[in-house]
Amino acid sequence: MPYHEFECSKCIPERIKHAVDKGKDENLSDALPLGYLNTIPGTLSERGCAYCGAKHVIGTPMKDVIHLSHGPIGCTYDTWQTKRYISDNDNFQIKYTFASDMKEKHIVFGAEKVLKNNILEAFKAFPKIKRMTIYQTCASALIGDDIKAISQEVMDEMPDVDIFVCNSPGFAGPSQSGGHHKINIAWVNDKVGQVEPTITSDFVINYVGEYNIQGDQQIMQDYFKRMGIQILSTFTGNGSYDDLRAMHRAKLNVLECARSAEYICDELRKRYGIPRMDIDGFGFKSLSGSLRKIGLFFGIEDRAEAIIEEETKRWKPELDWYAARLKGKKICLWPGGSKLWHWAHVIHEEMGLEVVSVYTKFGHQGDMEKGVSRCEVGALAIDDPNELECIEAMYKLKPDVIVTGKRPGEVAKKIRVPYVNVHAYNNGPYKGFEGWVRLARDLYNAIYSPIHQLAFVDISKDEIETDKGFMTRQMFSDTQLDESIVNSKEMHEYTGEFDSLKRLRDREYPQYPMKGKQAAV
């Protein structure tokens, strides 16, 4: 696995160890990209800051909370126009955003008084909300405001409220990943163990590292409930503040995004003896294996098996319809962190896509180990790429689609490479069996959208065919297919509803009587 040198980064020699071509008969001990290092001066990184990693990724998906940034109002930029971690309480946490609105005069004279006024004002404006998180920003960290002291003052004056303070200013790490770490540790130190939960099942988990993007958590919650598993808390998508204070009573931490939340799992393992089980919620095979091993842990593997059978029967013919049309198409797997390894193997095995590149903006070397292991030989693995490197990679690899966030996605569109937004999703949720089909549909629509064919026409020199004014996706996708596939009665397009969560809202779940003490497996 030789390191990959980008033409555009020859003037930044340190960059060479951040990219690797996966070679045949080589393994992770031959070459591995560097990761989680400070951005090299001169390279235009696209990472987020440590404040963003703490607040916008992990803190804010908590649903019943006023999330307040102690800093300039610009720090609250990311709300529902960029983030789509929805919740089942009418999306309170993304509908409203709060900042103490620090200005220059506060930098000079201090902003503790203005912070206290803001806290009181926010609780007054939303009297039903009794929980708050406050996030330090670069500005408030540099002037040394004592946020914890102010919070304690408020809690003393208002005994029915509880406030969590996260000290993770933007400069507190190389990327948003530094903020993930800080908020994990702060939460387990300051809040876990404060609430005793009501246990309603013999099988109790914390679902960790899941942020309910367009409903991912609710999809997985449905499977767990059907298995009779009680989700004590979700860290943090659609999660409740007080439920997360009771994490210490779970029997198992089920971990999805290890990059953002392994710290709290590891601490809960050390402090409370709760084991950590890493799972994949994406892809039929990986998800099935994940449900099976959770079932095995609790001795209820038959319940997992019933769900897998039912869901596979319902959704596999639809996945196969898209897979037949996606087969051989080249994809750059360029999400932020964990999806590069959640998807690298299953998107190839189950949708037939060729993964030509994986990248991570803020991942650590551990993420690259997983991603490189799972993708196919020949793929280009890049750590913290800059925009020029991405453009060079796209010109060289000629992907049919890239999956990434909206900033690099818009760059891709400019050079006529379709992209699917896998940070906030196009038409998610993508987790679960149905979700995997929804992703396949979005990839299909991106690759075969007629708009891309039109975009390749250069009106300054190309002849415009005026007799071909109407094309559909299927007119593009089905021309090369075997007739048996085109006319297949088994395979068909997605038939789920626009809102795939709708049918889950009123679902009744089986009641399994508790046996008291957890039965031996």
């Binding site: 591995l32 710290y263 003896g273 089980m277 842990f297 193997h345 650590h364 551990g366 292991s373």
Partner: protein
């Protein structure tokens, strides 16, 4: 076709690296413990020996190992292998995991004293 211990080890190693996540915990000591316990329990299951599941940690290791063994039913040669060969192969498998992911790993975070 009979599978050699070395070839069998390579096949199982490829399977683990492609499909599993448990071998990638972020610290070297943690990886050592995961490899030891999960491969140890998988070996016991393959050899139809008693497997300890008394603590929550043991149950978690066992669940990972049992699921792995269930998935390995796609390898018919494994069902035909005798216990001595299985133990020798699984021992080599653990050595390879330790070598690639701990002792010879290029991951600079493995020795970080904190989580």
């Amino acid at each position: 076709m009979e599978m050699t211990i070395e070839a069998g080890k390579d096949t199982l190693m490829n399977y683990i690296m492609k499909n599993c996540l448990w071998q990638f915990n972020s610290r070297g000591w943690d990886r050592k413990s995961q490899n030891e316990n999960i491969i140890g329990k998988a070996t016991q299951i393959l050899c139809k020996e008693e497997t300890s599941r008394e603590t929550l940690a043991d149950r978690c290791y066992w669940a990972e190992a049992q699921e792995l063994v269930n998935e390995w039913q796609c390898f018919p040669w494994l069902q035909k292998m005798n216990d001595n060969d299985i133990k020798a192969m699984m021992g080599k498998l653990k050595e390879t995991l330790d070598y690639q992911l701990i002792t010879n790993s290029l991951n600079e975070e493995l020795k970080n004293p904190n989580y």
